[in-house]
Subunit: 522 residues, 2 copies
């Protein structure tokens, strides 16, 4: 077999079952290899940002790596923003990036670029094959590197000659983790945490995405019943929630709100995350969300097993009481104006059990998140890296990982315009995704952010004049989202009232295959 | 004023008149600054790849830098592929990339990444401001760096605090080139070239994009009249052509064709380019397009003035005869099936004088290029870096640089799906762009490339089985390009026959403002 066959076979042997692809000439051997390796499902995407976002969504739901197939440095660049989000989600993703044949590289052909430099910022592991014999060993190494701990993006650069040359190698000698994993937290961290909680007046347990498994949340809930306040990062990779589950609080986005919320806390325990910091800095505002006098201690670091550590802590504190669990509540049918709150009611009403929500809804997202606390049990995937344009691509991957589940993709209209090509892959693969775009015709979050550039009017800026206002406006012309969705092959409707949206969402979440709703917000 | 104001004022003082922007929170001070600096026109793009491709197209037509405004590493990544194309076009582009405030960077906030590493592969100059006082000096340095020689991408990273803090600095002391420039080629290169041409049996002059100015082409035409064969790179940044101009040959894309075409050549003179190499390597095929025994000499290097050198060479060789010029020919109205050749006839018929063609048409492009040799005088912009998805963004920039001209954007359907958000900016700004997408429902070039993976069936691959074929197919479902274009606000029609296309193109090129034609190719 050739190097491409050996690489793909290795990925399959390592448990990789999906490859989100946008290949070019230098990847043709890999494309051909799919004909001889049925264990890996190739999923064509019209743009690399769709492929990488899909791999992230897949990894979050499957807990194991998906592959991407990308075309040299240019293709990797196009996928870079969603790889950044994957990095911040600690998602295991294996990029296979084609490159020029090694002998050809010295000629600086038009598509030549420094792929390693482009990959390094979002990859925990980057290597380039030197021969066809290398390729499968490196592929196995890439899968292992992506699995962690704590998990991340591994980028294997595969020069064309390493793909087309014959090889007899296989990866058999490489020891393989097939899923994301963690190592045990040292016992002394748990003991120190227990001691600190006993001494604290107002302790808070702060969970990152790596401490949001179902098991970890049960343990965190027991600690909540023992009087420890539990909250998560503002954005976590995946949060199991809804009826029958413990609902931690969520850190506020803006620093002044977060610090007000944490006022009086004297202990912050970290599990699967780092000290909370502001998404952005502002003049004369704090960067770190820790109140004065509050001690910060790590219960489990990023690479450590948070569920084990939380259970051990609950045990040490005698927190054996049942965690406070959400009970199911179906809101009344919303009526009148279509606001984020009305949308939230509808989502809470119709979200089916086992659904996956991919949230790139920016300013429209928070009310929906709050209101769905008591919906049927579901998973919520968030914008971990802050690079908008993840909502539809993640939904592609989540639906590929969970064919039986209904996926709901929530998007701001600014965010949705980034990688809307994902709709085509939903149509092509018949994925069970209901996509919603909140058409408020503005970068609404930026209107808020511009106002914050001059707190109290103390410095230049703070108010949008005509030029600035136009840079935050999406209303001239208005995007016709129904036409866009239909253009990519996904049936679509526009909902103008709360009643229309409620009916449209009920239909979308009851049916199978992809659907689209433009939520006309004003 | 604050650092953002000083930066924007400096860009304006340096002659920058357009900024293609997709800003986020860390760029809000720059957004606000546009209210106080009317000399720079901000153009909002829905996706960063549109902004960078537009800056490239602008620079190619204006010969001076455009700016972009991008949001941290994620935004720069999204714009990376078209920055790669700009780099290969030697286009002066100045990226202003926002970053976290310097004090905030140590906290590794979600959007933090290594922007320099992401910028380096496509940038000739990358620096990050350290204070507000730095910012304007670095902005002037960035403009200068972008201007060359030979010109390229300069990336200024602007941390938020450097934008929001007050400064009294200005850039006055920096000496500024305001346009792309070159330095004279040494006289000895011209003398050596003249000597070599006199001794050669079959000389060829090979022009890169930097030797394709109108003046350089007149001199090259004089050399052609003296018996020197003149050809250009397969892809050049901008080629002035059509009636009244000299039409050089064009290097073939595939090596076997290129070498057959060059058979017997004993001298290759390089002007504004490097030794020609294959776009991709293939098993047992040559990487370099120089026949055996052919000497290669540089007349003018990338940073040297090709027009001057070509005129001096013509002078030295006594090549004073008039260059062979194209005369205007209007083809007959095409009839019947809509093929690339029928499209070519229509383009040659209706392209108005002074038009700009942005060619990302992949397999449909070559016949149109060939047939428009004798059309009215126009400029042809090509895919210099091979990163598809440049055709619509470049058209945005070209139209912004040349408000009086008609721009024709030609796109394959695979290529067009990359950055179709450019259509929205065309609608918003009322740009005179006629966009055509050739809907053949396949990555046609890749079907050819897959066949080439196994020359003569000697190695694995070469024939697409079901999985591979599906990865090259765009027909399930078919994109409805008319709906997509209308969704972004650009009126659109679908042409199924040659007659329909001819009529639609005539209307599109006669009117003003944006329009769109889906060319249904099968």
């Amino acid at each position: 077999m050739n190097g491409a066959d050996a690489t793909l076979k290795t990925l399959a042997d390592c448990g990789v079952e999906a490859c989100f692809a946008n290949p070019g000439t230098s990847e043709m051997q890999m494309v051909s290899a799919f004909d001889r390796e049925p264990r890996v499902r190739p999923v064509l995407c019209l743009f690399e940002g769709v492929a990488t976002g899909a791999a992230d969504g897949y990894a979050r739901m499957a807990g194991k790596p998906a592959a991407t197939l990308l075309h040299l440095g240019a293709g990797l660049s196009n996928g870079g923003a969603n790889l950044h989000n994957a990095r911040r989600a600690y998602s295991p993703v294996v990029n296979i990036v084609g490159d020029h044949a090694i002998d050809h590289q010295k000629h600086d052909a038009p598509l030549q670029s420094d792929i390693e430099s482009l990959a390094r910022p979002h990859s925990t592991w980057v290597k380039s094959a030197k021969t066809a014999d290398d390729a499968c060993h490196l592929a196995a190494e890439a899968v292992a590197a992506s699995c962690g701990p704590p998990g991340g993006v591994a980028t294997l650069i595969l020069p064309a000659d390493c793909a087309w040359s014959e090889t007899k190698e296989n990866h058999k000698d490489v020891a393989l983790p097939l899923h994301r994993y963690a190592i045990p937290a040292p016992a002394r961290q748990v003991e120190a945490a227990a001691k600190a909680v006993r001494a604290a007046r107002k302790p808070v347990l702060f969970l990152g995405g790596l401490a949001c498994s179902e098991r970890a949340l049960v343990a965190a809930g027991r600690l909540a019943a023992r009087g420890v306040r539990v909250m998560t990062d503002t954005f976590v990779a995946r949060l199991p929630r809804g009826a029958g589950r413990f609902a931690p609080d969520r850190m506020a986005y803006f620093g002044e709100h977060a610090l007000a919320d944490l006022a009086g806390c004297d202990l912050m325990l970290l599990a699967g995350t780092k000290t909370p910091v502001a998404f952005f800095a502002y003049p004369a505002m704090p960067s770190v969300f820790v109140p004065k006098g509050c001690e910060v201690q790590t219960l489990s670091a990023l690479h450590e097993d948070a569920a084990d550590a939380l259970e051990a802590l609950a045990e040490a504190l005698g927190a054996s009481g049942p965690p406070p669990l959400q009970s199911y509540q179906m809101p009344d049918k919303p009526r009148g104006e279509l606001t984020p709150y009305a949308v939230a009611d509808s989502v809470a009403r119709w979200l089916p059990e086992g659904a996956v929500v991919c949230d790139d809804a920016v300013t429209s997202g928070l009310p929906i998140f709050m209101q769905t606390r008591s919906a049927k049990p579901h998973d919520w995937l968030m914008l971990t890296g802050g690079a908008i344009g993840a909502g539809m691509p993640m939904a592609v991957g989540a639906a590929a990982a969970r064919p039986g589940a209904k996926v709901l993709s929530l998007n701001g209209d600014g965010a949705g315009a980034y990688t809307l090509q994902a709709l085509w892959t939903m149509a092509r693969e018949g994925l069970n995704v209901a996509t919603v775009v909140f058409a408020n015709h503005a970068y609404r979050i930026l209107e808020m952010e511009l106002a914050r550039t001059s707190p109290g009017g103390r410095t230049t800026g703070g108010e949008a004049g005509p030029a600035a206002a136009r840079l935050l406006d999406l209303g001239d012309p208005r995007l016709d989202w129904v036409a866009l969705s239909q253009g990519f092959g996904v049936p679509a409707v526009c909902a103008v009232t709360a009643e229309e949206f409620d009916a449209a969402l009920a239909r979308a979440l009851a049916g199978s295959g992809p659907s689209f709703i433009e939520a006309a917000m004003g």
